[in-house]
Amino acid sequence: MGLLFFYSLRNLLTRRLTTILTALGMALVVFVFASIIMLAEGLKKTLVETGSSGNVVILRKSAETEVQSRIDRDQASILETLPEIALGEDGQRLIAKELLVLITMQKKNSDGIANVIIRGIGKHSFSLRPQVKLITGRMPRWGTSEIVVGQSVAKRFKNTGLQRTLSFATRSWNIVGVFDAGDTGFSSEIWGDADQLMQSFRRQTYSSVILRLRNPNLFQGLKKRISNDPRFTLGVMREKDYYLKQSETMATFLRILGISLTLIFSIGAVVGAMITMFAAVANRTAEIGTLRALGFQRKSILFAFLLESLILGFFGGCAGLLFASLLQFLTVSTMNFQTFSELAFRFSITPGIIIKSMAFSIFMGFAGGLLPAFRASRMNIVDSLREV
């Protein structure tokens, strides 16, 4: 058993150049496959980590995202009286009435523009999201045109440094701080006083209300209360589920893109492996005859050549994953198709992706090796021994 494995392995290592080229073909496919899934995974992780399970997002009933949602002031005020809301350190209810608008901004280092989310926040918006931390400057003062920007915004857009001024919605806004929200979507937002922003954008309604539950188990009760109360036309979601849902469309899109690209490329890689293995079988015809003469069965020959091709797939998979794992050190941005705003995130590799990529690559080896191995096993002993 061990010797047969070394037999297959050494045959691969002996024809080093063909092996490397064939494995690289497979590695390319695995790279594309893994990197697109890593992208989907990273996007999902970013959006999911944006939400916390103790928080509740309230939107207009028909709205799926904060951008589409409108909540008028009356309903928002009634929400503030709900008994399920947790109390903050200051003894006040942890609830924030927020506004979400999109503006276009110029990117750094290019002429491109992209949408950026402006979030009008309330007094508790920061305490509702403990992952959002000010890293330089200070908080905006209430009742002023002061704003703070997320770190990804500061990195990627023109004129977004501390003490700079942004002009939008007929006003100039002073940047007084930069915040970091880790790998969450908030890092790609700009925050300012909701009332000031509503005034200058001439908006009469909030977009969403965020609140913290006293206890996560109270969610179902709260949901029932709000949907049964005729004064409300609102939908209630756990913040985590809200962001998870947002990530799904994009992640699905990426996954489909990834799988279709991979399938197309993999045909090339499988054909490459097949050509390599057919050549190997042809070169080793006499050797196959010898093994059969010594008493090895057809299925052993089939197995040995298939194993060779599977190892080839394994090499390809390892190389592809190695390249793909380098992407982890890269931050990329994409359009969040729900809000059409820019979202910065990282490629994220998971054990699941590693397993899937390796399985896929080994399967390519299998697909490429099957016919050649079959041919090897079908050879006539006497004929193959005559071939020297």
Binding site: L3, F6, Y7, R10, A286, E287, L294, G295, F296, V382
Partner: protein, 229 residues
């Protein structure tokens, strides 16, 4: 008497090959008997069917007609799978071009047939070392075939042929690719295997000096055996 025992009995064997629509009749009504411990040289001109007959005896190919009995087993009745198993136990092969596996060391090449037995790794190693010392190659165990001369490769191949202690050794032009001195060495070795270890050997050759080293000779001519010589 053990030595008088028949080990091979070929009865009325016919064999032909199809080449396109043409039928090439290679062996015509061959009958032959051999005792245990014999050393037979099968001679004859090129294309006379020597290799074909040897392949039939070694269980690499099927007869069209007739029977081949080896050590009491009619191998013409065996299925392909059983025949392969039978070969692994009963036949040692020596080829003109040695047919060693290039990616395996001398040691591993000799070990190869033992993978088909139930021997443990330790026992396999013992057998391999013994076989390699018979052919005087124990100092080259880690060498790959391309690091050995033709004569040395053939000696490793002979070790591979005897390592399973088979019933018969078949050799098709074992010296055909060797210089005179190496050829003499290989023939000496085969002589020793036959005399000292009692191996039954059937050797195809068209080199008369090689043929003389055998203890009996059969001549094939156009697919017919001539017992006269």
């Amino acid at each position: 008497m053990r030595n008088e025992e028949l080990i091979l009995s070929i009865n009325n064997v016919f064999k032909s090959y199809h080449r396109g629509s043409q039928i090439v009749r290679v062996l015509e009504n061959i009958s032959l008997e051999l005792e245990r411990g014999a050393f037979l040289a099968l001679m004859g001109p090129s294309g006379s069917g020597k290799s074909t007959l040897l392949n039939l005896i070694a269980g690499l190919d099927y007869v069209d007609q007739g029977t081949i009995e080896i050590d009491g087993v009619d191998i013409t009745t065996l299925s392909e799978t059983d025949l392969a198993r039978w070969r692994s136990v009963n036949v040692g092969f020596i080829f003109q071009f040695y047919n060693l596996i290039p990616v395996l060391t001398a040691f591993e090449n000799v070990e190869l047939p033992l993978l088909l037995t139930s021997l443990s790794k330790r026992e396999r190693q013992k057998h391999v070392s013994a076989a390699l010392s018979v052919v005087n190659m124990e100092d080259r165990v880690d060498h790959y075939p391309n690091q050995l001369s033709g004569g040395q490769q053939q000696r490793v191949a002979i070790a591979r042929a005897i390592v399973t202690d088979p019933t018969i050794l078949v050799a098709d032009e074992p010296t055909g690719d060797l210089d005179r001195i190496s050829a003499e060495n290989v023939l000496d070795l085969m002589d020793r295997l036959n005399r000292d270890l009692g191996k039954t050997i059937i050797m195809v050759t068209h080199d008369p000096s090689a043929g003389k080293r055998a203890h009996s000779m059969e001549h094939l001519d156009k697919g017919v055996l001539n017992h006269d010589l």
